[in-house]
């Protein structure tokens, strides 16, 4: 092959395994069940001391037992985010019914998106520093803290020797990770990828979002006229990707095909999103996926529940889709804002929606905000045969990433 050309016979890329660690259930089946029922995963925070906070509710994963999922690594030598990532990876591999031994002998890699990495370990170190000084830090925690551990721990648990990459592009990071894994398979760099996003509940995120007035007191109500903000959350969503040819060869179940993705950057403001830039990202995603806006049957919104985010997202959607945009729901109403996991869990919701024929609801809707002008699938899931769906992910710093999925 001559130098200077990329092979033009791209692989089609499909999702054949799903792993979810969420406040509404573990594994694809229970996550799917919760999405269909509109279950809320919001509860009182138990994972850290909430003394002094006025808001003490979040989408926390309760009763997670790392020993059940982590076999090769020592679970107590991993932070909570790495534990979630490894658990979700095991679920995805089991769901894909592929022998980990096969993956270990392939070029299978891992890409994980995150906002805060091992924030709980960082916080414990800061606590030690504040109370006893920096000479007292627990050295074992120090080496567990770097965020590259999220992807490398998955690689090590399953003896994968491919590229392990942690993308820390905040709340759009899950889509970044899925997009990059898609590119690696599409171009034939590898046959298999594990990809997704993870974060664990963070005390400093609660403090920061509360301080800027972005936390809702009780419930998260994206696209409701009276929405008051986000609730923080945690979890992991991992997808097992392979080429369509490989999936067909294995004769395995295909949840959905990844048609493409788009990323861009507002380059305007760290915290205020830019509707025209977000609309541009949607158009880019459509164009990369080889579709038009008219082809989209459903949008899994970024939908955080803050007055500003939802207004901006709705404005961008109307700019791209006109006055009759497709139904657009926000699963953050159920699981809170799971940060780096958010767009990965949104992608899983899209794969399940395509495969099982439904639209997840936006729960807690009392009065849909007419200014948003969206059908937010209020309160109850809707049965629907979907062909092509869009998953939005937007982040601090104006990092936007949107994935497009199609039914197989």
């Amino acid at each position: 092959m001559p130098v200077g050309t990329i092979e033009m016979s791209y692989q089609r890329v499909v999702i054949t395994g799903l792993g979810a660690v969420t406040s509404v259930g573990l594994g694809a089946a229970s996550f799917c069940d919760a999405l269909r029922k509109g279950t809320s995963g919001i509860s009182e925070i138990e994972g850290f001391d909430t003394t002094g906070f006025h808001i003490t509710r979040a989408g926390e994963v309760k009763g997670f037992d790392p020993d059940r999922w982590i076999r090769e690594l020592n679970p107590s030598a991993l932070g909570r985010s790495s534990q979630f990532a490894v658990a979700a990876a095991r679920m995805a591999i089991e769901d894909a019914a592929i022998d980990p031994e096969v993956l270990s002998h392939s070029e299978c890699g891992v890409t994980i998106g995150t906002t805060e990495g091992e924030s709980q370990l960082e916080f414990r170190l800061v606590q030690q520093w504040v109370s006893d000084g920096p000479a007292s830090l627990d050295a074992s925690l120090v080496t567990q803290t770097p965020a590259d551990r999220l992807s490398v721990s998955v690689a090590r648990e399953f003896y994968l020797h491919g590229e392990a990459m942690t993308l820390s592009t905040a709340c759009a990071a899950g889509n970044y990770a899925i997009g990059h894994a898609y590119d690696l398979i599409k171009t034939g760099e590898t046959d298999f990828m594990l990809c997704g996003g993870v974060d664990s509940l963070s005390r400093s995120a609660l403090a920061g979002f509360y301080r800027v007035g972005a936390i809702a007191p009780e419930i998260c109500q994206p696209f409701d006229a009276n929405r008051q903000g986000i609730l923080t959350g945690e979890g992991a969503g991992l997808l097992f990707l392979e080429s369509l040819a490989s999936a067909e060869r294995r004769g395995t179940r295909i949840y959905a095909e990844i048609l493409g993705y788009g990323t861009n950057c507002d380059a305007q403001h760290m915290t205020a999103p830019d509707p025209s830039s977000i609309a541009g990202c949607m158009r880019l995603a459509h164009s990369n996926a080889g579709i038009s806006a008219l082809d989209i049957d459903y949008i899994c919104a970024h939908g955080t529940g803050t007055p500003l985010n939802d207004a901006v997202e709705a404005e961008a959607i109307r700019e791209v889709f006109g006055n009759q945009p497709p139904p657009t729901s926000a699963i953050k109403s159920m699981i809170g804002h799971t940060m780096g996991a958010a767009s990965a869990l949104g992608s899983i919701a899209c794969a399940l929606a395509l495969h099982r024929g439904f639209m997840p609801p936006t729960i807690n809707i009392q009065t849909p905000d007419p200014k948003c002008g969206l059908d937010c699938v209020p309160n109850e899931a809707r049965t629907a045969e979907l062909s092509i769906v869009q998953n939005d992910g937007f982040a601090f710093g104006g990092n936007n990433a949107i994935t497009i999925f199609g039914r197989r």
Partner: protein, 380 residues
């Protein structure tokens, strides 16, 4: 299976290092073998667990982007914003409304500014209420701040990615940027790595046993960014091509149940072999190696053994561990290795039709290698 990859070209770069700010200063410092090690400054006695480091006290962001709007930027962000600007200038890449959506940033880091994160968390503990934090500091405590601020300051609306890669950050940034450019998603990417010196990193290194008080390689800081494009884009834009990034391979090779490093050695050797193959280069084409070496004898041995296995001429090659001069710069280390490599080709144009390697190894089992060719056609 090992298909050749389309080369990327380096059309400009910028660097803020403990031995010089700017390409020219860094290149001449390297030629002189200047040491970046100096007594720790800016901290009271006892605040840092060692007496020497490779800091850059003379770096002042206002020299690069002026005073306005810089007050709340943390050091990681300041270093990155300034270095991205240098790389754009060096490549004479004018950002316009027409091309800004086609220029992106891919930044390698560990966790962003650990100082911003640590200080923000500290604020939740020391005030009367946990939420009495400074809202202006909140975005700094998110890992993608430096890359996003670089986009804001330089109006770069293309893909903006932050990679938490630690010692692998430089190579991972090259891989991510390479795939993105080859797919045509953007035309130009500013890719590289950053690390800031701060009390949090100093103590973390101290506790992890990575840097003893008088270790051979002190802790360093800095940032290097490279303007990368496809050859066709560079030609179209009339850019100077400084070098070509060819193969770049990474992997994770560590057995979980013992401390033997054999798997990591053979893993790195296979990355080197594959990267050379995919570059269309032979082992005898290699004229220089730019090592990661970070004062941990175990990691250094892995690197040396793998290179020895891969290159028969290894012992007689031009070899440089830039960390000996700039210190252990962790997630900027790979970017500094590439800087040293580019400086080498600039100083020794007679080698420009050959290739040089840079290798990285990490304690977590990750290894990798990139192959870079000089540009014989390019005359300063």
């Amino acid at each position: 299976m090992n298909r050749q990859v389309e080369p990327l070209v380096v059309t400009g770069w910028g660097i803020i290092s403990p031995i010089g700010i700017g390409r020219a200063a860094f290149t001449s410092a390297l030629a002189e073998g200047r040491q970046g090690r100096k007594p720790v400054t800016g901290y009271a006695n006892g605040e840092i667990p060692f007496s020497e480091a490779c800091q850059i006290p003379e770096f002042d962001v206002e020299n690069f982007i002026g005073k306005k709007g810089t007050r709340f930027l943390d050091r990681t962000t300041r270093l990155t914003v300034a270095t991205v600007g240098m790389a754009l200038d060096d490549g004479q890449i004018a950002v316009t409304p027409d091309n800004q959506a086609r220029i992106g940033v891919v930044l390698g880091t560990n966790v962003g500014s650990i100082k911003s994160i640590g200080d923000f968390m500290r604020d939740t503990l020391i005030h009367a209420r946990p939420y009495m934090v400074n809202p202006m500091h909140f975005p700094n405590a998110v890992m993608n701040c430096a890359a996003s601020q670089s986009a804001i300051w330089h109006r770069l609306k293309g893909i903006n990615a932050t990679i938490s890669g630690g010692r692998m950050a430089g190579l991972l940034a090259l891989r991510y940027a390479g795939l993105t450019l080859r797919l045509g998603n953007v035309d130009t990417i500013l890719a590289g790595g950053v690390e800031e010196f701060c009390e949090q990193t100093a103590w973390a290194f101290y506790h992890a046993g990575r840097v003893g008080p008088e270790a051979g390689i002190p802790l360093g800081e800095g940032c290097a960014m490279f303007a990368l494009e496809r050859a066709a884009t560079a030609q179209e834009q009339g850019r100077k091509v400084l070098a070509e990034i060819l193969g770049c391979e990474v992997g994770v090779y560590q057995s979980n149940d013992d401390r033997t490093t054999g798997l990591q050695v053979s893993g790195l050797a296979s990355c080197i072999r594959k990267a050379l193959e995919r570059s269309g280069a032979r082992t005898e084409d290699v004229c220089a190696v730019f090592l990661h070496h970070c004062a941990d004898p175990e990691l250094e041995n892995i690197e040396d053994e793998a290179l020895n296995q891969s290159l028969p001429q290894y012992e007689s090659l031009h070899r440089l561990a830039v960390s000996q001069l700039v210190g252990d710069c962790f997630s900027a280390a790979g970017a500094f290795q590439l800087s040293a490599l580019l400086s080498f080709f600039e100083r020794f144009p007679e080698h420009s039709d050959r290739v040089a390697l840079m290798t990285s190894v990490a304690h977590n089992g990750s290894v990798g290698c990139a192959v870079v060719r000089g540009n014989a056609k390019w005359q300063q």
